[in-house]
Assembly symmetry: C2
Homo-oligomer: 346 residues x 2
């Protein structure tokens, strides 16, 4: 009999509320014969204040025992900027080798976009998750003096670039339009740019049915607001991916519906799924948060574990729910979760 052994990290702010709804929908969508086990972990600001810990060795050992991780949100204004980001989120991405950071953008009917007209948006960004300027390499000399010099080193390896580029080609090939865009800044960042471009072109030769294009990251931001329909699959480096996926989320309905997966495709370590929105402390505890992004992250999680039909049922339920919102009064976090749970069970 099948089973899912899930690590659940509600985290900070609205994390607790949205994760509860994500689990509600997950339970509702799973077939009877799939045994769902969950274990909750207390990472985040509260634990940090109480113990000074963000993620210990014992924690990572415990997390390794799970099939996947569902994360709400980590981050609180009471913790200095960067501490939880680097001490928990990025640490886990690196330790668990989450090199495929998957971020789909789809503008669903009934969802508001800041763009004029009725753009048709349906693409997915494959963001590298373990290299680039995110490695923490670099340093500071003469800190705090008028002669301070601070460096940040972007580290890019053929190994790291090839595996994510390959993953993106495979995803592009599996989609109807079969298009893949590489986004970089190879006219300026020539060392990393050459590596990325060269490997991209090499792997492209193995996927002759995939149409490719190259685009500078600055130009990509223009296309994302003027011709978002142009994109199908995008592959890009860690920092460019961070920037353009927030923009992509904004134009395709906002971070309220943006889901993401921190994926280790080999399965050596558990992958982690999380809504793109943060902990939103300003609305925490009020039942106001929209759990949709978390529910869509659950769909990514299910697809990663091979439950494609169940993932599709969630996507479908969310699409119908969003389409029916127009003109209706706002619902609470739990009401939206309940409605989605009913739909996916149905």
């Amino acid at each position: 009999s099948r089973s899912i052994n899930l690590a659940v990290i509600p985290g900070d702010g609205i994390g607790q509320e949205v994760v509860a709804e994500g689990l509600k929908v997950l339970s509702a969508v799973l077939p009877q014969d799939v045994k769902l086990e969950t274990k909750e972990y207390d990472f985040g600001a509260k634990r940090y204040h109480a113990t000074g810990e963000t993620l210990t060795d014992a924690d990572t050992e415990a997390l390794k025992q799970h099939d996947a991780i569902l994360l709400g949100a980590i981050g609180d204004p009471s913790v200095p900027s960067g501490v939880l980001e680097r001490g928990f989120l990025l640490k886990l991405r690196f330790l668990f080798d989450h090199h495929v950071n998957l971020r789909p953008s789809k503008l669903l009917p009934g969802v508001a976009t800041p763009l004029a007209g009725e753009p048709s948006i349906d693409f997915v960004v494959v963001r590298e998750g373990t290299e680039g300027p995110y490695t923490g390499n670099g340093g500071t000399i003469r800190k705090g003096t008028p002669h301070e010099v601070a460096t940040e080193v972007s580290v890019n390896t053929a190994f790291g670039v090839e595996r994510v580029v390959r993953d993106a080609f495979a995803r592009a090939q599996a989609r109807p339009r079969k298009k893949l865009a590489l986004i970089h800044k190879n006219n300026v960042l020539a060392f990393a740019g050459h590596l990325w471009t060269n490997i991209f072109n090499q792997v492209a030769a193995e996927f002759p049915d995939v149409t490719t294009e190259y685009m500078h990251v600055d130009a990509a931001t223009i296309y994302l607001v003027t011709q978002p329909e142009r994109f199908d699959v995008i592959v890009t480096d860690n920092l460019f991916g961070d920037i353009i996926t927030d923009l992509a989320a904004a134009v395709s309905g906002g971070i309220g519906v943006a889901a993401s997966g921190n994926i280790n495709p080999s399965g050596e370590f558990p992958s982690m799924f999380e809504p793109v929105h943060g902990s939103a402390p300003d609305i925490a505890g009020q039942g106001k948060a929209d759990p949709t992004a978390t529910v869509l992250s659950v769909a990514l999680l299910l697809r990663h574990l091979g439950y494609d039909a169940e993932a599709a049922r969630i996507d479908e339920a969310v699409a119908v729910d969003l389409a029916e919102r127009t003109g209706k009064p706002a619902r609470s976090t739990a009401e939206i979760g309940d409605a989605l749970a009913v739909r996916v069970a149905g």
Copy 2:
């Protein structure tokens, strides 16, 4: 009597056409007593193909003799990506210490924006121009092998950050709203992020009447499409500035109207002014290019040289011209230039 000794670099593609109109408007707006001398330089793809040169020592010596530089566009598909960018444009920014890369974004009446509603956009980005990931530091080992490693080093100095932050504060203080946003990614790029944030906060203490905020670059892309009216002055690093100013141009009417200045505020070396659009080889030589961004760059040039009233006349003429376009047939490059020349002379 006053004089302007201008270096003119038409460059590639539509550069020639738009620069001709920029000069037409410049001549028309200048008072009789100001002597305008211009000298044309042949930098760009043609010269590169003929001689292999992008910018020689003799060239930079010659350029140094001018009060300012007007550039059309550099870049052609026949030249490998990066060669002219690094060999000419970036080289000049570094040699002439163009540390204030100034990029205003203003959505003028009658101008189309990809954003829904009628956003009110009027901000200016002060992008650092001589540091960050643009320094060309970094390298490659085992090039072309499966074990290649490529690095890019972002170099940030207290000297370089403080002067551009100070410039941005002064600009913010001179504007009615007096708001300044620092855009960085200090939760991840902690070395450079700390330097930027620390200096920003220190300088802020000297400008108590300027309201400040800090924003991560990823979040900034969201605000640029959902709340662009939020911004007044932005200061940011070289690469983040590159990315967000293209997005800013896109939402405020497109790169057809986006002007920029590569400024050396001390005047030690001439500053360079250029439209943000590139050489657009696909429409070159057809009289189709819109010279407005070049004309607005001439206004930035005049303001830099202290001709504030003349700069204001150009801005005003462009605003009226743009407002009157709706519903009219498209005009040629020269027709738009003629119309603007008449208006500024008037």
